[in-house]
Amino acid sequence: MTVAPTSAAFRELRLRQFRNFAELDLRLPPAGVAIIGDNGAGKTNLLEALYYLEIFRSFRGAPDERLVRFGEDGFFARAAVDGASGASEVAVGFERRGRRKRVSVNGAPPERLGDALGSVGAVVFSPSDVALVAGSPAERRRFLDIVLSLNRPGYLPALQRYRHALRNRNALLRTGASPALLLAWESGLLESGGRVMAMRAEWALLAGAGFSRRYEAISQGQSARLAYAPSVPQAGELVDAAQAAELLRGALARVAVRERDRGVTLVGPHRDDLALLVHRAGEDRDLRDYGSGGQQRTAAIALRMVEAETIRQARGREPVVLLDDVFAELDPGRSRRILELLEEEEPGQAILTAPKQSDLEVRRGSLPHWRIEDGKVLA
């Protein structure tokens, strides 16, 4: 029996026809590596491939077809990892024809794709994370859904059931079905929706303090906070699925007439948000509307650190941090403090990228430096 290590790590990576990598075989050092290359060299592509093996889709939101190298029929990615169950091998192949995706863990397909999710334990920090703060509530729901699916047993099945029940209920509302039929679909919606809301609320309560502490450390004393903003009033304060379901029942009853007019379900987890707030002039204000670019980036980084914390607590292991050129556009003081914080709090494997050597001088001077050029890594 292998003992699970205290740090997660990618040990080896093999890519075939993934983005601009025709063939890539890498051995990754346990402490990590700094990868330097020009714009368009493939830095983000490499991190995208690594994290693909965690969630089996692109963290950039790209459809699988787009990950296939131009002119090829499919891609293949495989990593040897120290992860959730000790050493293992995660692989995925995708064929453009028939859009077939085959995932395997230690050579065998998992019973459900959900079983293979998060088998490493990794977090990506990317410049596009600013959308977590500045973007629509859908961005933050996606964040919540990924963090909880990977770290809370039962979340993903509840979410899938909720979405399925919701689509059916919306179909009924569109066609003006009888109250008896609507009621029949409500029980599945309430049961799964209650579980989703309760797990979101519990996570936000736990994560709140960590978010504020990190935001403050990076911004030198400015304060911000995170709170669950459910579409169902009061559901943010509860941690019990049955109570959350009852609140949802009440909220649905209150909008029943409007729902019949509009033909869609108007309240529920699909309308939730995560509030990211700063205190300004005596009031809590939304960072989305009032934050500067730098403040929004800071909040996004704090959120990712909270994600890392969630992984650490859920699995008792240090997550891998994948840092994609995150210090671009931040003032030098902030960059340095983020770095210090990461060095302090994320002792696990770190794989980071930057376009210029100088961007990495201040960071983890101890990591080996590799160059990347046009889809080739020069170790």
């Binding site: 399925h164 059916n168 079905a177 029949a184 679909w185 029980s187 599945g188």
Partner: protein, 207 residues
């Protein structure tokens, strides 16, 4: 060759059979002795002609009513509602259930356009002594049925169908129960093993 193409096209309409498999089956059949192929054709013809839904319970059968409905040793006070005829076999194999059945022929699925009218519900209420949804006439032997066990699949659709049935049946004063959880969620009853189904039956609860 149009005849070969016709057969391939027909086979390809079957669930789980793509064009390639259909072709392979066609050429396989062409290589078999003509007698064997005729036997298959006759078997298909006979089921098409003689197998019908039972007029009482909806189970697929060659006789009316079906062997289960016609069996005097079955407990006439219990009705187990299932989605498909094939689910009956799964429950029968447990040997734990002695009552009657009612086959819906599907489950509610608004996304696929399946509502109550698409299911075999019309004939259920008269069996329970309620009014026929269409004619308003009552039939059957009112008061005989003590309990309706809803054994739809544990999918979101199956659960919704169960709740809908409960709303229909409850006003008639008949007890409505649901199989206990423990069946694989999203799994089909048809594929669950006997022990699991027997446990789910024993642990059924009031809806």
């Amino acid at each position: 060759m149009p005849l070969i193409d016709d057969l391939t096209a027909e086979l390809a309409r079957l669930p789980g059979i793509g064009r390639k498999t259909a072709l392979r089956l066609t050429y396989h059949l062409l290589k078999r002795p003509a007698d064997e192929v005729r036997r298959l054709a006759r078997a298909l013809e006979s089921v098409a002609e003689r197998v019908r839904p039972c007029t009482v319970c909806g189970n697929l059968t060659e006789q009316q009513p079906c062997a289960l409905c016609g069996n005097p040793r079955r407990d006439p006070t219990l009705i187990c509602v299932v989605e498909e005829s094939s689910d009956i076999g799964a429950i029968e194999r447990t040997g734990e259930y002695r009552g009657l059945y009612h086959v819906l022929g599907g489950r509610l699925s608004p996304l696929e356009g399946i509502g109550p009218d698409e299911l075999n519900l019309r004939s259920l209420l008269p069996r329970l002594g309620g009014a026929d949804a269409g004619t308003g006439a009552t039939a059957g032997a009112p008061g005989v049925i003590r309990e309706v066990i809803v054994a739809t699949n544990p999918s979101v659709e199956g659960e919704a169908t169960a709740v809908y049935l409960q709303q229909l049946v409850r006003p008639l004063g008949v007890r409505v129960t649901r199989l206990a959880r423990g069946l694989p969620v999203g799994g089909d009853l048809e594929y669950a093993d006997g022990v699991t189904i027997a446990e789910a039956l024993a642990g059924r609860r009031e809806l």
